[in-house]
């Protein structure tokens, strides 16, 4: 991947208000040339509004959007060096594939010969060779999306904007398109900016993700950081599934920290958190980072949790719920304090799901680097 240092899009203190509703609230972020940037958030968080402002369909109430060094605040959409793939694909229903893909070139006065070559090239890129004369109503949703992609790529934009590109596809096709989009982006080297509410999509495709909540950036980070080092409870909860417990910071040194959670027990971390001592914090613990045992296998538990002092990073409970998903089994375990904790366990052998069942008493432990301390 060719990631330039200089930003291709600079969003500076942009706000957008519709009447009394603030859709985007003072967002500033840079999108670098050549990256696959994803705006992730729940519906109504303002991510689509932000994308439409980059495309030029909405004007910011405040702030500036700079694309490739030029202030775009007053530039209409048809004059911007960006192209968009719409959520509905917006393929022109009365034109065949060739006319759809060649539309932008045709109206900008590119010669017929060049248009023909570039359309053929774009169709090749999205694997639609042989579909030239098809009408949109003779194509599947996935194929129509490829037409929309080719129609934008043929314009050779500096930035390609994609609004929920995979939401209308079925699960199998979506997984395939995730890889294809990432592959395509790698091939053409154009900066992609995608909007999605689907965290799997964001994690699998993005080079960086901005999580948007209520019109503000909750966190901007590469996918693995987002998952492993969430900045706050919103991100921890929105990206992946997580157990969150409230607690009090009792120890905080450069190489270790401890949190006392009334609901879960004593948590020990092998790194400092630089939080205010004695303050309220939250512990986030991913379900797959918790190991399940039969109670009494004390040696094994201690051996596994040896990086923590005695009595830390352990919990006991009763299995109250179970769902077998094939590759993993999810357990909802009621802790002794009454709280429910979710644990996921990989089915490494064909019979692993039979190890535990409803109402079994179990012990759990986790490594000292697994819990994340959240200050907000």
């Amino acid at each position: 991947m060719t990631e330039g240092k200089q930003p291709i899009i600079e969003i500076r203190n942009v706000s957008k208000r519709f009447g009394k509703v603030t859709a985007v609230d003072n967002i500033s972020l840079d999108i670098r040339a050549g990256e696959f940037f994803v705006l992730l958030g729940p519906s109504g968080c303002g991510k689509t509004t932000l994308l439409r402002m980059i495309a030029g369909f909405e004007m910011p109430t405040e702030g500036q959007i700079i694309i490739d060094g030029q202030d775009m605040s007053l530039v209409p959409p048809n004059k911007r060096p960006v192209n968009m793939v719409f959520q509905s694909y917006a393929v022109f229903p009365h034109m065949n594939v060739t006319d759809n893909v060649g539309y932008g070139l045709r109206i900008s006065g590119i010669s017929k010969a060049e248009t023909r070559d570039r359309v053929a090239e774009a169709l090749e890129l999205v694997k639609l060779g042989g579909f030239e004369d098809r009408m949109p109503d003779q194509m599947s949703g996935g194929q129509r999306q490829r037409v929309a992609l080719a129609r934008s790529l043929v314009m050779r934009p500096k930035v390609l904007l994609l609004d929920e590109p995979l939401s209308a596809l079925d699960a199998k096709l979506r997984a395939q398109m995730q890889f294809e989009l990432a592959d395509l982006q790698d091939k053409v080297g154009i900066t992609f900016v995608t909007v999605t509410h689907d965290q799997d999509e964001a994690l699998s495709m993005a080079s960086r993700v901005a999580v948007i909540n209520k019109g503000e950036v909750a966190q901007l980070a590469p996918p693995s950081d987002l998952y492993e080092y969430p900045a706050n409870r919103f991100v921890a909860d929105f990206v992946g599934s997580v157990n969150i417990f409230e607690g009090r910071l009792t120890l905080d040194e450069p190489d270790k920290a401890a949190v006392n959670c009334p609901g879960l027990g004593k948590i020990y971390l092998n790194h400092g958190v630089t939080g205010p001592h004695g303050a309220n914090v939250w512990i986030a613990l991913r379900p797959e980072k918790i190991y399940l045992h039969v109670p009494g296998e004390g040696k094994a538990v201690r051996a596994a949790a040896q990086d923590a002092p005695d009595g830390h990073n352990l919990a006991r409970g009763t299995i109250k719920g179970m769902s077998y998903l094939g590759d993993v089994t999810l357990y909802d375990i009621q802790l002794e304090g009454g709280h429910i904790i979710r644990v996921s366990r990989p089915n490494l052998s064909r019979h692993d799901q039979e190890d535990f069942t409803w109402d079994d008493k179990v012990s759990m432990h986790w490594r000292a680097d697994s819990p994340v301390v959240l200050l907000s």
Binding site: A55, G56, F57, P76, P77, N78, K79, V82, N83, M84, F86, Q87, S88, A90, V91, F92, P93, H94, Y103, G104, I107, S108, A148, R151, S152, M155
Partner: protein, 278 residues
């Protein structure tokens, strides 16, 4: 195919009562028209008993200068009224669909008023309106048809607007945005994306306006002068003396003309396209 005699509960088309009901409806709708057309070939001055086949009343109708003139007037008015209603109606529909402005509901309501106001009231209103304006009646053809044409546009364009508006409701705004995103100006996006979408409704609206204008009697009666007789008004005056097969012949020509026109429009646009607008 296997033969089935039992009729399933929802197979209404195979039930006798349903078939006879459809048949009776068709008879009710079309029997008068068929009788009118048959009697245009009747070799008798009185239009009551069948006396034999003839084409002489067609000859007579086509040689009747005032009848032909009325027909030409009607077609001219219908043509002009259709074109202008189409432009005004489509623009009004796009405006109401696209923009938000103060008193939009009021504008929408008043625009459809000509559809619901009784024709007789409109007719009288136009009579007074043109009289007060001292609208010239002695102009050369086709300018002498201007008063009737204006009146026809008034009651035709709301129908066009209504049909186009219904079609616009199914337009995906993202298509227009996509066109602009690809570099189209406002006008290019309208021409290349919006216009093709509403085209079937323009055809349907034009058909509606044309037939409405062609057979209008009441409003035309109040706005026409001695030199601007239209076909329906002429037929009315002929019928006052006696219903001759000549009137039948002229009416048959008109029926064939409108049916042919509708057929061509459907053929050109595809039945599906027009059906979609409703």
């Amino acid at each position: 195919m296997f033969n089935r005699t039992a009729i399933a509960p929802l197979e209404y088309t195979r039930k006798l009562w349903m078939r006879s009901w459809v048949g009776l409806t068709m008879l009710f709708l079309y029997a008068p028209l068929v009788v009118l057309m048959i009697f245009s070939f009747n070799d008798s001055k009185r239009n009551v008993v069948w006396k034999g086949f003839t084409l002489k009343y067609y000859e007579k109708a086509l040689n009747n200068d005032s009848l032909v003139e009325a027909m030409v007037n009607s077609l001219t008015i219908a043509f002009l009224a259709t074109i202008i209603s189409l432009v005004i109606g489509a623009l009004a529909a796009v405006m109401l669909w696209r923009f938000r402005f103060p008193f939009k509901g009021l504008v929408e309501g008043t625009m459809s008023l000509p559809i619901i106001v009784p024709e007789i009231c409109l007719g009288v209103a136009f009579l007074i309106f043109f009289a007060k304006l001292d609208w010239p009646t002695d102009l050369a053809w086709p300018l002498n048809l201007s008063a009737i044409t204006i009146a026809h546009i008034t009651f035709c364009f709301p129908f066009v607007a209504m049909v186009v508006r219904a079609r616009l409701a199914s337009f995906n705004r993202e298509e227009e945005e996509a066109a602009k995103d690809l570099g189209a100006t406002e006008w290019q996006a309208f021409r290349d994306v919006l216009l093709p979408h509403i085209k079937p409704s323009l055809v349907a609206g034009a058909l509606l306006a044309f037939t409405l204008s062609l057979d209008d009697f009441v409003i035309t009666f109040f706005t026409s002068g001695p030199d601007t007789i239209t076909f329906p008004v002429k037929v009315y005056s002929m019928v006052r003396f006696s219903v001759t097969p000549e009137v039948n012949a002229a009416s048959t020509i008109l029926i064939i003309l409108t049916v042919a026109l509708t057929f061509i429009a459907l053929k050109y646009q595809g039945v599906k396209g027009i059906a979609e607008t409703h």
